[in-house]
């Protein structure tokens, strides 16, 4: 299904329909090189110009490592296998999903004698790591939970800029993945399970989507009856929903929905939606709490894992998708290559993408899986239609989209 809204083509996708590359990847390299340059310049020049000024103080003593202050490379670090001199590099291994690769990785990971470091913004990675350690008891996984996307980006790029990136794997969202990929931090890899993952769903060429989050609409069954539910975006403008809506204020969601509606319609639509006096909260948890508590009737921004967990605990809520396309954002996994235990990192990524291992762990957490052979445990978690978020277009104009959100949805 290919729909034209306004002047921007928006490709609406359906699961397993094989529509080809999503628009979001267009222009990625260009946007990325600008961002990377800006970050790198800032950090390098800080070192070069400011260091002499404060060298008089003890500050200089702490910053004196010449080796460490080398400018960051824009190329992924290649890890040379500790085996024979003519052995394939880690980069080559990563791109060659041979049948015996996992065993080779396991042996190399054990030989590295270091924990595998996973940087993540999601609790899923913690659960997958526990299952991984059960499968590979000789290996240890350590988790760095960054909480917010900005923290994750700051941490990885500062480590990278200092030439001491420690992480092996990242499990986060499309936004962070696109930023880090554009900074040239990732090590590209080909998974042994590549065929099971729709290339149209990938956020970047150097990552996979173990699971996808589709924005669901969730209502409190004590406050809202099924026959009065809004089914389209326009239905939300009905006076019935004044003072009843909760929306997670995510600028990338706003951007995607704006483009779905089209420039001509979106401004007026969001202005009117803002007049419905929605609660504009920060994240999915804060969006669901007022619905569960019975404070408000409906949120249009939530995801399956949280919703099903609350339903299992007895919360009076139900979820559904609108008849129009909803917004989708993945939780990609990528590897870094030059970290603590790169072989272990790749092995962890493969475990996560394995339809008989990591994918089943995520399934048990009520996620919608990236692998086509693993359906969700609960019906109704996959929409008929959805649109992804074009981060290559969104990121350079994030400021502008925030201003638009403020001027319309958050104008009251």
């Amino acid at each position: 299904m290919h729909v034209m809204f306004g002047t921007k083509p928006v490709r609406v996708l359906s699961r397993n329909h094989g529509q080809g590359e999503m628009e979001r990847r267009e222009g990625l390299a260009e946007a990325g090189s600008t961002n990377n340059k800006s970050w790198g310049n800032l950090m390098n020049t800080f070192m070069k110009r400011l260091l002499p000024l404060v060298a008089i103080s003890l500050f200089a003593a702490a910053c004196g490592s010449e080796e460490a202050s080398a400018p960051p490379s824009s190329e992924p670090t290649e890890q040379v296998s500790p085996a024979a001199p003519d052995a394939p590099s880690f980069a080559e291994i990563a791109m060659s999903p041979t049948p015996d690769r996992r065993e080779q990785l396991r042996e190399a990971a054990i030989a590295n004698n270091a924990p595998i470091l996973v940087y993540t913004t999601s609790a899923d990675a913690v659960t997958v790591a526990a299952a991984f350690e059960e499968e590979y008891p000789e290996l240890t996984v350590e988790i760095f939970r960054a909480g917010a996307a900005g923290t994750m980006i700051n941490r990885v790029l500062t480590e990278f800029g200092a030439g001491s990136l420690r992480a092996d794997v990242q499990v986060t969202n499309d936004f962070v993945t696109t930023v880090l990929s554009s900074a040239g931090v990732h090590q590209p890899f080909v998974s042994e399970f590549d065929a099971g993952f729709d290339p149209a769903l990938r956020a970047t060429n150097d990552s996979y989507q173990p699971n996808i989050n589709y924005w669901m609409w969730v209502y409190n069954t004590d406050l809202v009856s099924e026959d009065e539910l809004p089914r389209t975006y326009d239905d939300l403008l009905d006076p019935r929903w004044k003072d009843e809506l909760v929306i997670a204020r995510m600028t990338d969601w706003f951007y995607a929905l704006w483009n779905l509606l089209g420039d001509d319609r979106a401004e007026e639509y969001f202005t009117r939606l803002g007049e419905q006096n929605p609660l504009l909260v920060s994240n999915f948890t804060e969006a669901l709490n007022p619905i569960v508590a019975g404070e408000r009737g409906l949120t249009i921004t939530n995801v399956s894992g949280l919703v099903v967990a609350r339903q299992d605990q007895g919360a009076p809520i139900k979820a559904y998708f609108p008849e129009e396309p909803t917004i989708a954002r993945g939780s990609p996994i990528a590897i870094f290559g030059g970290g603590n235990n790169p072989e272990g990192g790749l092995l962890f990524a493969e475990f996560t993408l394995d339809p008989e291992r990591g994918q089943l762990v995520l399934q048990s957490r009520n996620r919608v899986l990236g692998h086509s052979a693993v359906p969700p445990l609960v019906d109704g978690l996959v929409p008929e239609q959805f649109v992804g978020i074009n981060f290559a277009d969104f990121l350079p104009n994030e400021d502008m989209w925030l201003s638009r959100l403020q001027a319309t949805l958050a104008a009251r």
């Binding site: 800032l42 609790a123 988790i143 700051n154 800029g161 200092a162 948890t285 605990q313 994030e398």
Partner: protein, 582 residues
């Protein structure tokens, strides 16, 4: 007290003179210079980083960050909302903090121990949890407190998502900062002034307003300064209660621009540097005022016993009633909500069905989770270490600021205030940036977090140490010096014991805010070195409200134990033998 050795002969006089002659390499100078260098080191790193990323965002000088911060983002509205928020909440913090401190430290009113413990509770409950508890209480429809009231009134007048609710909750949250400062000041107050006023016919209110408050002016000024800045930069409560209603303040705006990519350091720096200049000016003026003014020195060479003000009759009942109302509103209600949330899977009205689902499962989950218990251990070590170091450094730095005759000594106080203005996330990036390149392998250890905490909490330590020194008349030091004591002896045996109430208050405050620290830790920790605030933040992001509540309750218990330890140490200190604590 050491034996007094007055110079009795010419030989002794020469020895005395030689001992006290200002030598470039005397112990005193080594300690003072060492502290100044340490402070400079701790503060120059984040300050240099802040200034650089603000004015050189693209490696060339630019004020674009300022333009963007103050022109593009509707500075007038932001400044107005932040000023209203900070002024309103600070007024509440000051009234509540001073009132409770006076009640607990100066009067004979009942429930003093309860009031002391309750006055600290908003500090002991992390701001994130305090804010969440108040949202559960004040949601207009489902709120456990506001819901029934609004239903009765037939309106949504009471709501958590408003400026007035933000001001109220932030005011209560920051009141322990004022309470601790003023409690220490009131404890060390010479009661003879109040007694004289009473004997002259002044009423209790007149004594409080015209004698007690003016003589505590250094502590009040210090408290006002720090509480205003603290409320200016408060993040959690504006984020939880303000942003859903589109109310933004400086801190939430800084957080937003730092979450862009690339992070808008120049903009965040723009906000911070304006704040830095304003606070720097106020600090300068305050120190000039205090340094030249000996009238606030109520601890003199004349011995005194601190005595309570006797209040009887209706005044007693009214004041006790107000204090119990405070305990109920500011402490019991949010604490009850927190405990309630820890017993049920999700927070909703307490119906029979919901109450039937109550369990202690969250506690067993939290207590059996090795990451959480490890984080608790790390946080406790960091709290104890950073509080002790901060107060030691602050005590000496405060002496330099107030007592030393060195020109530009006021700069030390300003220097020590810098980390307060640097946003936590910027401080984190600055330290990460430096220590990733450090030849000393400190990254990946708790030491880096300790450096971060000491840096971040030095300003608080200073605000407790400065009024503590101001209160001590310099005649005591002069007497010790004349009796042959060296500077170090005088500092250790005269000043520190006399400063002890303020130092202990500062130690308690720093230890507890160290237990809550999140914004800098989240950038600097490595697996195995995480702290409890990070665990709470993760649980909250994962929607595990029961575990958030349970962890919060355990954290509050640990914090209370720290308070008890602090008070016990304070009582056991040699200072007990000094007039102020006998």
């Amino acid at each position: 007290m050491s034996k007094i050795n007055l110079p009795s002969s010419e030989k002794d006089a020469k020895a005395f003179e030689s001992r006290h002659r200002t030598s470039r390499f005397s112990a005193k100078n080594i300690v003072l210079v060492g502290i100044v260098l340490l402070l400079a080191y701790l503060t120059v790193v984040p300050l240099a980083f802040l200034v650089y990323v603000t004015f050189f965002p693209d490696a060339q000088f630019s004020v674009e960050g300022f333009r963007s911060a103050f022109v593009d983002r509707g500075m007038a509205n932001l400044l107005a909302s932040t000023t209203i928020f900070a002024a309103g909440s600070s007024a509440i913090s000051m009234v509540v903090g001073i009132g409770l401190a006076w009640y607990a430290a100066r009067t004979n009113l009942p429930f003093k121990q309860l009031i002391f413990a309750s006055a600290l509770m908003p500090l002991v409950i992390p701001a994130l949890l305090y804010g969440i508890a108040w949202v559960f209480l004040l949601q207009p429809r489902a709120g456990l407190l506001a819901g029934p009231i609004n239903a009765y009134l037939g309106s949504d007048a009471i709501t958590a998502y408003s400026m007035s609710a933000m001001i109220f909750v932030q005011g209560l949250d920051a009141s322990p900062l004022v309470f601790l400062l003023l409690y220490a000041a009131f404890q060390t107050m010479d009661p003879s002034l109040e007694e004289a006023a009473s004997l002259s016919g002044a009423s209790t209110w007149q004594v409080f307003w015209r004698v007690t408050l003016p003589s505590a002016r250094p502590a009040i000024l210090g408290a006002l300064l720090i509480v205003v800045v603290r409320n200016f930069e408060a993040f959690e409560i504006p984020s939880i209660m303000g942003t859903p209603a589109n109310i933004y303040v400086f801190s939430t705006q800084i957080y937003r621009v730092l979450n862009f990519f690339p992070p808008r350091y120049s903009e965040a720096g723009g906000y911070s540097i304006v704040l830095l200049v304003v606070v720097g000016f106020v600090l300068f003026a305050q120190n000039r005022y205090l340094a030249g003014n000996k009238k606030f020195a109520t601890v003199t060479g004349k011995g005194f016993r601190s005595r309570e003000i006797v209040i009887v009759g209706n005044s007693r009942r009214v004041l006790a009633g107000f204090s119990l109302l405070y305990v109920l509103v500011a402490v019991a209600l949010p604490l009850a909500v927190l405990i309630y949330s820890s017993l049920i899977p999700f927070v909703t009205r307490p119906t029979r069905e919901v109450l039937g689902r109550m369990s202690l499962n969250a506690y067993s989950t939290v207590l059996s989770d090795s990451r959480i218990s490890n984080a608790f251990m790390n946080s406790i070590q960091l709290a104890l270490g950073s509080a002790t170091l901060v107060m030691l450094v602050a005590a000496i730095a405060a002496w330099i600021t107030i007592r030393s005759k060195v020109r530009g000594a006021w700069l030390v106080d300003n220097l020590a205030f810098v980390p307060f203005i640097v946003p936590g996330i910027v401080l984190g990036v600055a330290l990460l940036f430096v220590y990733l390149r450090s030849p000393v392998p400190i990254f990946g250890t708790l030491w880096l977090l300790l450096i971060a905490y000491v840096t971040k909490f030095i300003p608080y330590g200073m605000r407790y140490a400065v009024p503590s020194i101001v209160k001590i008349h310099s005649e005591l030091e002069e007497a010790a010096t004349m009796s042959g004591a060296t500077w170090l002896q005088t500092f250790r045996r005269i000043l520190l014991p006399l400063m002890m109430p303020g130092m202990i208050a500062g130690w308690i405050y720093v230890a507890i805010i160290a237990l809550r620290e999140l914004s800098t830790s989240v950038l600097l920790y490595t697996p195995g070195n995480d702290v409890i605030a990070i665990q709470i933040f993760e649980l909250w992001n994962d929607g595990r409200t029961a575990e958030v509540g349970a962890t919060g309750v355990v954290l509050i218990t640990i914090s209370l134990v720290l308070v008890i330890i602090g008070r016990t140490i304070g009582r056991r200190d040699p200072g007990r033998k000094t007039p102020i604590n006998t």
